[in-house]
C-alpha cells in the first residue's frame, strides 16, 4: 500500500452504478432475455400442471380451461407468448454471436430492433390473427 492509499477500503464510498448508468438497447435487451427466461421457467411449470390436470379427468380439464381462459389467465398467456417469442428470437441472436456473427455495434443495434418488432408482430399474430 502506498501512502496515498491509507484509507481503509470499507470507508471508501462505492461509486454509483445501476442507478447512474444510462439504460441503453444493449443492457435493456440483455436483462429482458434474463427476465423472459425466468418467466418461461414459470411457464414450463404451468405447462406441466396443465398436463397433469388434463391427465386426470374431464372435470379437472374443464376447470383448468376456465382458469386459463379467464381474463387474467388470458393476460398471463399473452405474456408467456411474448416472453417466448422474445426469448427465442433473442436466443437466436445470442447463438449467432456465439458463432462470431453480428457482433459489430451497428449490427447489434439492427438485430436488436428486429427482435423487438418481430416479437410484437408474432405475439399479435397469435392473439389477434387466430
Amino acid at each position: 500500500m502506498t501512502s496515498s492509499d491509507n484509507t481503509p477500503q470499507a470507508d471508501r464510498p462505492l461509486s454509483p452504478h445501476l442507478s447512474a448508468y444510462r439504460w441503453q438497447l444493449t443492457s435493456l435487451l440483455s436483462i429482458a432475455h434474463r427476465l423472459s427466461g425466468v418467466a418461461l421457467i414459470i411457464g414450463l411449470v404451468a405447462l406441466s400442471f396443465w398436463l397433469f390436470f388434463l391427465g386426470q379427468n374431464a372435470q379437472a380439464s374443464a376447470l383448468v380451461k376456465i382458469i386459463f381462459f379467464s381474463w387474467f389467465g388470458k393476460l398471463v398467456q399473452i405474456g408467456f407468448t411474448a416472453a417466448f417469442f422474445y426469448h427465442l428470437l433473442n436466443g437466436v441472436r445470442h447463438l449467432l454471436w456465439d458463432f462470431n456473427l453480428g457482433l459489430e455495434l451497428p449490427q447489434v443495434y439492427r438485430s436488436g430492433y428486429i427482435v423487438i418488432v418481430l416479437t410484437l408482430l408474432l405475439t399479435l399474430a397469435v392473439w389477434v390473427g387466430t
Binding site: R34, G37, V38, L40, I41, L44, V45, L47, S48, F49, W50, L51, F52, F53, L54, G55, Q56, N57, A58, S61, A62, K65, F68, F69, Q77, T81, F84, F85, L88, G91, V92, H94, L95, D98, V126, T130
Partner: protein, 119 residues
Amino acid sequence: MKPLALFALHRGTTRHWAAQRVTAVLLTPLGVWFVAASINLFRSSREEVVRWADNPLSLVLFSTFFLVAYWHAALGATEILTDYIHNPARRSVVKNVIYFVLGLSLGFGLVGLFLLARG
C-alpha cells in the same frame, strides 16, 4: 467433448456453456412447432388433447421439447444463481432447491402426459 458429456450439469463451465447453446439450438425448431401446436391445444377439450397425444409424431416432438426445455431451464437458472448469490454454500443450497422443484414439476408433467397418451 464427447456428446454424452453435454448431459453433465455440474462438470466444467465450458460444458455448461456449450450445453446451454446445444439445448437452445434444439429448442429453436421445437419451440416454433410447440407454439404453433399450442395455439389450438390449450383451447381444446380433454378428448381432443387425447386424440392429439395419440399421434406418435406429436407425442415424440412434444416429449423432446418438454425434456430439452427443462434441461435448458435448469442450466439457465444455475447461470443466474452464479451471478447473484455469492456465498458458495448458500448458492449450492438454492440450486438444489430449484433442481428439486424443477424435477418435481417435470414429474407432474410426465405423469399427465402418460395419462393423456393412455387415453
